[in-house]
């Protein structure tokens, strides 16, 4: 039932970007795990730490510009994400949510910073680990609040349903809470970063190829490709901020759901 199509591009020169462009070689031959994304993750940790230590070290009533910048990010996460979503117990989760937001945001924005230009989250392992952390946090919180038996019962058994229907519904509920939620959380971030980076590669590499082509028409249209690539870079910036926000927001929503007394 599978129909395969074969398309051949005209000529043979242009190689479209593929998943191979994401498998970067190690920086030094001797250390196999030290690739560019790993280095960028380390860099992001250092950058985030240094920025927030500097901005909060000399805290004053009249804030300096640096302190204002740091505090507005912190205030955004604390008020708009944690307090509005989780409710009165929110202070416990602010450190986790804040770390998550700044870490994901910094790593995403590395995708469009010149010379770095690689979003580490386009390697699926990084979002997986973050989702496993969030998964652990929200189940731990729910179990701590309700006790393990009541918590699992609340997840698996919907009230107000005739007994035989549970055979149909309980597997779906369990699959939602233990499989689909962490999976969609990580895959959404991964897919957005992967597709965004690929999109930029297509237009920039295409523009480069067209510029070096022998036809005059190709040369003429090459600047349009570059211009579109630049416009998409701004679009990517928006997507990167949005994805960091959504990842944190969904984690907060799941925590709020685990804390809620009843659904």
């Amino acid at each position: 039932m599978r129909a395969f199509v074969k398309l051949h591009a005209e000529g043979d020169g242009f190689v479209p970007p593929s998943t191979n462009d994401f498998n970067l070689p190690p920086i030094t031959e001797s250390i196999a795990w030290l690739t560019k994304p790993v280095l960028l993750v380390f860099l992001s940790v250092i950058l985030v730490s240094v920025f927030f230590i500097l901005s909060s070290r000399k805290a004053a009533v009249v804030p300096s510009k640096l302190q204002f910048a740091g505090e507005s990010i912190y205030g955004f996460v604390r008020n708009d994400l944690a307090r509005d979503v989780i409710g009165h117990e929110f202070m416990r989760f602010v450190p986790y949510l804040f770390t998550l937001f700044t870490f994901v945001l910094t790593n995403n924005i590395f995708g469009i910073v010149p010379f770095l230009q690689f979003p580490a989250m386009s390697h699926v392992a990084f979002p997986y680990v973050l989702a496993i952390f969030s998964f652990g946090v929200f189940h731990y919180v729910g179990i701590q609040k309700h006790g393990i038996i009541k918590y699992l019962k609340e997840i698996a058994f919907m009230p107000g349903v005739p007994k035989p229907v549970y055979i149909l519904l309980t597997p779906i509920e369990i699959a939602t809470f233990f499989l689909v939620r962490p999976l969609t959380l990580s895959l959404r971030l991964f897919a957005n970063m992967f597709a965004g980076h690929l999109l930029l590669l297509v237009f920039i590499m295409g523009g480069d190829y067209m510029m070096h082509d022998s036809h005059l028409i190709m040369k003429l249209f090459s600047p349009f490709s570059f211009a579109f690539g630049i416009a998409l870079t701004f679009f990517e910036f928006m997507v990167q901020c949005l994805q960091a926000y959504i990842f944190t927001l969904l984690t907060a929503l799941y925590i709020a759901g685990a804390l809620a007394d009843e659904h």
Binding site: M1, R2, A3, F4, V5, K6, L7, H8, A9
Partner: protein
């Protein structure tokens, strides 16, 4: 370039649910904007409509891989 035509079919079939979801939420936003107190009445209807449209889209996605 090789690939399966199923995914082209899925792309075409996803247009329908996409338009449907857009229309559902356009109507919902319109209704709530005109009459904010009707929100609690409209919300379940909007969610059910969204669920039905989304179910068709996901059904298409799964069938594109299964068939």
């Amino acid at each position: 370039m090789t690939g399966t035509l199923n995914l082209v079919g899925f792309g075409l079939s996803a247009i329908g649910p996409a338009i449907a979801t857009g229309m559902i939420f356009a109507a919902y936003i319109n209704g709530v904007a005109r009459q904010p107190e009707a929100r609690s009445v409209l919300q379940p209807i909007a969610f059910l409509g969204f669920a039905l449209a989304e179910a068709l889209a996901l059904f298409g996605l799964v069938l594109a891989f299964v068939l």
